[in-house]
Symmetry: C2
Subunit: 193 residues, 2 copies
DNA sequence: TGTACATCAGTGAACGCGCGTTCACTGATGTAC
DNA sequence: TGTACATCAGTGAACGCGCGTTCACTGATGTAC
């Protein structure tokens, strides 16, 4: 299962991978593929499941480390970036899958993102940071946050992992995006009386 | 050149298209491909150029139709959605290319988005809506706007074009995203004194 | 403890097929004199 | 106006190759008695 990720990490698109290619990378005969997966789509879906685990691990780490509310954004973005670097191939796969060929994979990734957004909403409620917002508005705001971060992900995956200057730029920019969104959230109820 | 777009419109991923497949769709013998393009990447780059034209046309229409500042968001989102529907395949190609195989295509699409963001910044300046923002902050905000809209695009392309209910949901949601961002923009200077 | 059997990941040969790319070609259209 | 030539999109046959998938197989590991 790590073979396709390796190939994706090397710049290939998941949609263009073939069974022989994947098994070759895995150092195994093509026939073995069918012992584990019905076809490439099936493989993709299993990768989405594993992606879910990676995201949950990331979320847990964020929860453990973000203690003060005022550092929330900075810390979270930092954790996100370090996880994205550590699981580059996984996140590349995720970015590709969002506009991918298989509707099922697309849906899987979307649903991971929705889950992520709803967990974020829970956390913000728990921290009592968003008492003035309705559930619907909070959900919308968390969705926007997750999307912005996901888009930053594609920036991050576009630059070399050890280009520290660029990575730092992306970190700063993402942080500012989130700050802006939260400034909007603070003043949101004024707009919808 | 419209043949690959047709295939993308049918749910295929550009990265998985072959020369024979494209020429077959175009109703032409495979050899003819080489009269026009060196390879699939070359084709992709030419599509990016054409995509630029589509975006510019959309921008022009938005400029002509958005006269009152208070309707700016509603109108722009409406125009965006109708163009996205009218050029579905083009925008699918764009969404795919962002995480695609070819670095050159990726860069091309990114640069279109940057151009779009900077034009938006100009327009907002011209309308005197953002006098309190520094150039850097304005640029950041416009970037976030463009990204949010681009992400909504992938939502839109995921639903059937004639599912009016879903399209309307996406329209509303995108509008709210932008409203939130602009509320944040209004109060932004408070945060960075 | 030893024997018999089930399970299952991986093997290797074989298949027919569609792929990208080459080549010399045709035939329509535009250009020069 | 008519003739000669250049340009260029499209043709069709051919090539070698890698693809997905099938099949009967091997050999290691776990389980039952």
């Amino acid at each position: 299962m790590s073979a396709p990720l390796t190939l994706v990490g090397k710049g290939r698109h998941f949609a263009s991978l073939g069974i022989r290619e994947v098994t070759r990378q895995a150092g195994v005969v093509p026939t073995s593929f069918y012992r584990h997966f019905r076809n490439m789509d099936d493989l993709g879906l299993q990768l989405v499941d594993e992606l879910g685990l990676v995201l949950r691990r990331m979320m847990r780490e964020a929860r453990e480390n973000v203690l003060q509310a005022d550092k929330l954004i900075d810390e979270s973005v930092g954790i996100f970036i370090s996880h994205a670097q550590a699981n580059r191939s996984f996140f590349l796969f995720m970015a590709q899958g969002l506009a991918g060929e298989s509707r099922a994979i697309q849906e899987g990734i979307r649903s991971e993102m929705r889950y992520f957004a709803s967990e974020l909403a829970n956390d913000l409620r728990r921290l009592k940071l968003v008492d003035h917002l309705s559930d619907g508005d909070l959900e919308m705001i968390c969705d926007l946050v997750v999307r912005s971060v996901a888009f930053s992900l594609t920036d991050l995956l576009g630059v070399s992992a050890d280009d520290e200057y660029q990575v730092e730029q992306i970190r700063k920019r993402t942080t500012r995006f989130l700050q802006l969104i939260f400034v909007g959230a603070e003043h949101w109820d004024n707009r919808r009386p």
